[in-house]
Subunit: 207 residues, 4 copies
DNA sequence: TATGAATGAGCCTTCATTCAT
DNA sequence: CATGAATGAAGGCTCATTCAT
C-alpha cells in the first residue's frame, strides 16, 4: 500500500485537474505531464483514466457508504413504534461523525460530489439518497408527515446535500459543526411546525 | 427575431441532445444531422456551438434574472426597519410567479441547471445566489437571525435550488405549488423555531 | 453509389497498404495521408478502419458466397443416387465461372484471403470450407471414398485454396483456366485411382 | 546452450501467447509477466521480441531445412535419367521422417506456419517451396509432366502445405501417417492419370 | 540476474470549425 | 440558404524498448 513519489505527484496533479475542470474535461496527458511524467508512466500504475479517479476517491466513498449502513442498522434496531420519533435523534447523534469524516476528506468529497461526471461515481449521491429514502419510507410508513411526496423527497435529498456542502465550504471543524446544527435545527423545526399546523387544521375540520 | 423553419428544427434537436447528454457530450454534427441538415447550414445561423446553447436558454435566463431584480427592488422599497420581517412575505407572494415562469420554461430551466457544463452558464445558479445573498446580507444586516453565516448562505442557496428542482420534477402546476408551499413552510417554520430557541437561550443566560 | 475522387484515392492507398502489410499492420493515418488527406477526411466516409476494409472487399466476398450457394442449390437438385457421381461434373462446369470472378477481383480476393487478419473476414475462407464440407458430407454420406476423414477434409480445403491461389497468381484468364483444369485432373484422377485401388483390395480380400 | 529456469518459463509463456494470438498481437509485457518475471529480466536474455520468437522456432526451422537439403542431395545422387521416375519413391520413403519430425515439434511447427506474421519467418513456408521448386525444375526439366508451370508450382506447394497441416491437425502419429499416405496416393495417382491422358492424346494426334 | 520506472512513438477515433461551391 | 469535403488538434490507450539500481 506504499504510494511512490511518482504516484503522489500524479495524484496531486490529477486532483488539481479534476477539481478544476471535472473528470471528463481533464486530459490525462496533461495531468501526467504536469506531474512531470509521460503517459506511458501513468499506465504503469493504473490501467485507465477512470481507475485513477477511483483510486483518488475510493476510500472516501466507501467510508460514506459504511457510515450510512451503520446508521441504517442503528435505526433498524429501534422498536418499531419509536422509529420515526427517534430517527431524528439518531441522525443528530451520528451526524458529527459524518461531518468529521467529510471534513477530513474534503478534496475527495468534492471530487465525488462535483467532479465525477463520466465516472462510475457520477450518481453516487443520488444513489445514496434513493436508498436512504427507500429506507425511511419503509421504516416509518411516513404517514404522519403531511408533505407532498415530491416535497418530502426534495427535502431529504437537500438535507444531505447541505451536509456535504457544509463540509466542503466550511473552513474549520467548529464552523461546520455549528453550521450543521443550525441547518438541522431549521429542518427539524420546520417539520415540527408543519406537524402542528396540520394537527390544528385537522382539529378545525372535525369541529 | 424571426425564427426560420430550419432553425426551429435545429433548436428542437439541440434541446434533445443537450437534455439527454449535456452540452459537452453532445456532438454538434449529430444535433444538426438529426435536425435534417448539415453542419454548414448551422454555421449560417450561429458561429459556435456555445452560441446555440445561449440562444436556447437566453430568454429563460434573463427572465429569471429579471424576476430576481424586481424582487430585490420590491424589497428595497420597504422601510428599513421592516425589511427583514417582510422579506418572507414578499418571497411568499412572488414565489408563485417564479414557479409559473419556470414551469412554463421547464426545458430551458433544465438546460440551465443541469446541462450547462462547459458553457458560460455553468455557474448560472451559483452566480444568482451570490448576488442574491449579497443583497440580503446588505439589506438587513441579518443580525437578528442567529445563524452561522455559512448556514445562512447554504440555506438560501438551497431554498432556491429546491424551487428549481420542484419546477423541474413536478408534473403539474398544482403539484409544484403545493410542493413549494410545503418547502416554504418547512423553511420558515424552521426559522421561527430557531428564533424561539434563541430567545429562550438568551433569557436563560440573563437569569 | 457514386465513388468520389477522394474515396478512390483512399481506396487505392488502402489497397496498397493492406496488400503489402495486412490489415492490422497498416496505419490508417498513413493510408489516408498517402492518399493526400488527413484522418478527419477519412471519417467523413467511413466510421472505422474496419469499415474501410469491408467496403473494399464486400462485393467480392458476397459474390463468392453467392456462387457457392448457387452451386450447392444445383447439387441439391440432383437425384439422390447420382449426387456423388455428378458432383464432380457440376464442379467442373461451374468452376470456370468462379475463376473468372476471382480473376476479375484479384486484389479483393487477395485482401480477403491473405490480408484480413483482424477483420470480420479473417475466417472467411475457413468458414466457407466448413459449410461446404458439411454440405458434401451430408449430401453423399461419403461412404464410397476410402479416405481418412482428416485427409478428406484437408484435400477439400486445399482444392479450394488452390483455386484461389491460381486465380491470384495466374496472369491471364487462359493460364488460370488451364491451371485449374490441370489441378482438377490431378485431384479427380487421384480420387479415381484411390477408388480403383480400394476395389482391387476388397476383391482380393474376398477371394 | 544451457537454458535457465527463467528462460524455460518465459519460453513456455511465449509459446502460449504466440500460439493463441500470433506474434504481433502478443504483448511482450504479458508474456513475461505471465511467466512470473518482468520485462527487464527478459532483456537480459534477448535483445528483442523477435529474437525470442527466433529462439523458439530456430531448431525446428533448421531441422526442416536440413531435411529438405538432404532430400535434394539424395535426389541429386540419382542417375539423371531416373531422376523423375524415382523422385516419387524418394519422397515416399523420406516423408515419414519429416512427418515424425513435425509431429515431435508440433508447437514449433504451428508457430512457424501459423503465428509468424511480423517475424522473419513469416514467409518461411513460401521460401522453402520456392527453393524446392527451383531444385525440382532444374533437376528434371519437368518436360514430361504435362502440367502448366503454375499448376505444377501450386501442386507442389500444396503438397507440402498439406503435409504440415496433417502434422498439425492429426492427433496420433498413426493417423497422420495414414492421412499422408492417402494424400500421397491422391497426388501421385492424379499425376499418373494425367500422364496417361496425355499419352492418349498424343497418340490420337499422331493417328 | 532481475526489478521497476519511464519513455516516446504509435494507434484509432472524435469533434468543432472552415470554406469553396 | 445549404452542402459536403476537409482540417487539425485533441483524446485515451498500447507497446517495445531503455536504463539505473
Amino acid at each position: 500500500m506504499e504510494i511512490s513519489d511518482t504516484l503522489m505527484k500524479i495524484h496531486a496533479s490529477a486532483k488539481n485537474h479534476f477539481m478544476a475542470n471535472g473528470y471528463e474535461r481533464s486530459s490525462l496527458r496533461k495531468i501526467v505531464s504536469d506531474a512531470g511524467f509521460t503517459l506511458g508512466a501513468f499506465y504503469g500504475y493504473y490501467s485507465s483514466k477512470e481507475e485513477l479517479f477511483h483510486a483518488l476517491v475510493e476510500e472516501t466513498a466507501s467510508g460514506i457508504l459504511t457510515f450510512l449502513k451503520e446508521t441504517a442498522a442503528t435505526m433498524n434496531a429501534l422498536p418499531d413504534d419509536l422509529k420515526l420519533q427517534q430517527m431524528n435523534d439518531v441522525f443528530s447523534a451520528r451526524m458529527p461523525l459524518l461531518v468529521d469524516f467529510l471534513f477530513q476528506h474534503r478534496d475527495e468529497t468534492y471530487l465525488l460530489l462535483r467532479c465525477s461526471d463520466g465516472t462510475r461515481y457520477e450518481n453516487f449521491l443520488a444513489g445514496m439518497m434513493e436508498e436512504d429514502l427507500r429506507f425511511m419510507a419503509q421504516a416509518a410508513g411516513m404517514k404522519e408527515l403531511p408533505l407532498q411526496p415530491l416535497a418530502q423527497k426534495l427535502l431529504v435529498e437537500n438535507y444531505f446535500s447541505l451536509l456535504g456542502q457544509a463540509a466542503l465550504e466550511g473552513t474549520t471543524r467548529e464552523e461546520i459543526m455549528k453550521t450543521m446544527q443550525d441547518i438541522q435545527s431549521v429542518f427539524t423545526g420546520g417539520m415540527v411546525n408543519l406537524l402542528q399546523r396540520n394537527n390544528r387544521m385537522e382539529r378545525e375540520k372535525q369541529e
